[in-house]
Amino acid sequence: MNAPTYNFAYLDEQTKRMIRRAILKAIAIPGYQVPFASREMPMPYGWGTGGVQVTAAILGPADVLKVIDQGSDDTTNAISIRKFFAKTAGVATTTATDQATVIQTRHRIPETALRANQVLVYQVPIPEPLRFLEPRETETRRMHALAEYGLMHVKLYEDIARFGHIATAYAYPVKVNARYVMDPSPTPKFDNPKMDNCPALQLFGAGREKRIYAIPPYTQVVSLDFEDHPFEPYRFNAPCALCGAENSYLDEIVTDDKGGRMFVCSDTDYCEGRQAAGHHGSLSAAPYKEKAREAANG
């Protein structure tokens, strides 16, 4: 009987304290990237080690955890992280957005509006919004310190010059609390407006880059743009093929090699919830058709 025993939520208490201190600092300075001593986690970098450490540090026994990857509750990454915490912390897990208290996410913000007392934890690959324009870390830090953000507009300018519109579709830079320019992690820009004045606490963890940043509840988050090229959230112009939603973010799914495709909600929980409530789209799954048939047959 040598089964390994882990501390609650995997990390030891000292590490969690260290991460919590970084989180508190991040909340105190919205949008500012706080360095922290990121640990090796039992998963590769790029799989959400930053988000997992933040989640581990804030998780309590009474929390209910939801993990999504690209909006979906049932992809490999989401399932394994959910299992990880079910095993090491023994917390309840859920796929329902409104029942969760902590939601760890990769690349999406749930469609269901978040409420106060919920925490959204983002997995961040590259926290520095200026990175691809200015490779020097010393220089980007100085630019943040002096709020020199002209360079960010250079990127948007390049987009318009090349494509005729701001072609940045994800990781769209935002200004937090009218001070720091922040990378909202690779969420589609469709989700940017949800960050503004959000009642939930939003935490961002970048494990490889060793940075934590945060947006406290009810904080102003503005997407950068030009006066004559204002920010516009992008969405495929179609209803969800399964639930018929007109206002959710859609994934495009190629269904054959003849150009066939369907658009479905990327937020699976939202889509399932709507289908259960009786909404359906042009390609609704069989159970609803069966139900409809049953109802018709009496």
Binding site: L146, G150, V154, Y157, E158, H229
Partner: protein
């Protein structure tokens, strides 16, 4: 109005007071003093290692002097010591009221972003937020430095050496600075391209009433562009005066050597 101009031009824009810089035991620059007036072009000439570039870095606030001070008359008319400026102020000054033309355009340009964005960067840095206006201004400046506006969306790495240098000049002048530092702006260009660049610089300087500090080892550049010349050797200024005077009638033996080492045309 005329009086106003007279007063403005009567006060120096940049004043260096006994500037010295030593790196350990090496004295790169010793006791350099001068005043630069608005619209004046000052050439600093001398051989490699004479302290020209060190001096330029001190004047432009990139290097702290070991002794002495540099003061600059800001746009509000107040003359301030550069050392007393905060970093934010200094960087702001560098982006707005000053220009710096590097010898190697790759240092002064963003080689991977388009020419338009290169010129527009300073405007965006001071808060311009209208794409159309930024682009119009950028294309206007490209025209002024004789770059075909059809190439506004090309990155400078696709440009020739002369075009890069002209783009760098446009990028610096777009915020209408009053003072431009130039570090061997014609170095590495062939003679015909040099001539064209110098011609352009000369007309822009006159048109915009720019004050320029130009560091060069090429006396021809000094003769064409500058009003005054400072000759440096071993970190000291050994001779200074009006360009024609110094170059036609050099007093110091070293200056005589420099002047006589130019091939006669």
């Amino acid at each position: 109005m005329a009086d106003q101009n007279f007063i403005e031009n009567d006060e120096p824009l940049l004043v260096a007071k006994s500037l010295s810089k030593s790196f350990g035991r090496i004295h790169a620059c010793r006791d350099v003093s001068f005043s630069l007036y608005p619209g004046e072009v000052l050439a600093i000439v001398g051989e490699s290692g004479s302290g020209k570039s060190t001096l330029l870095q001190m004047l432009s606030g990139q290097l702290a002097p070991s002794a002495g001070q540099v003061s600059y008359r800001m746009r509000d008319g107040v003359t301030r010591d550069l050392a007393s400026l905060g970093e934010a102020e200094r960087r702001f000054l560098f982006r707005t009221d000053w220009g710096f033309v590097h010898q190697d355009p790759a240092q002064g340009l963003r080689m991977a972003v388009s020419a338009g964005a290169n010129v527009g960067e300073r405007l965006m840095a001071v808060g311009w937020n209208h794409y159309g206006r930024i682009r119009d201004t950028a294309s206007d400046w490209l025209t002024r430095v004789e770059i075909d506006t059809a190439r506004i969306d090309d990155a400078p790495r696709t440009y020739s050496g002369g075009m890069r240098q002209r783009l760098q000049i446009a990028r610096n002048l777009v915020t209408e600075p009053r003072l431009v530092f130039m570090d061997e702006p014609t170095g590495g260009l062939d003679v015909s391209v040099q001539a064209r660049l110098l011609d352009l610089l000369r007309s822009l300087v006159a048109e915009l009433n720019l004050a320029v500090v130009i560091v060069t080892h090429d006396l021809a550049v000094a003769r064409l562009l500058s009003h005054r010349v400072m000759v440096m050797k071993g970190g000291r200024v050994i001779e200074t005066g009006l360009t024609d005077q110094v170059l036609d009638d050099p007093r110091e033996p070293y200056t005589q050597l420099l002047v006589s080492s130019i091939l006669p045309p």
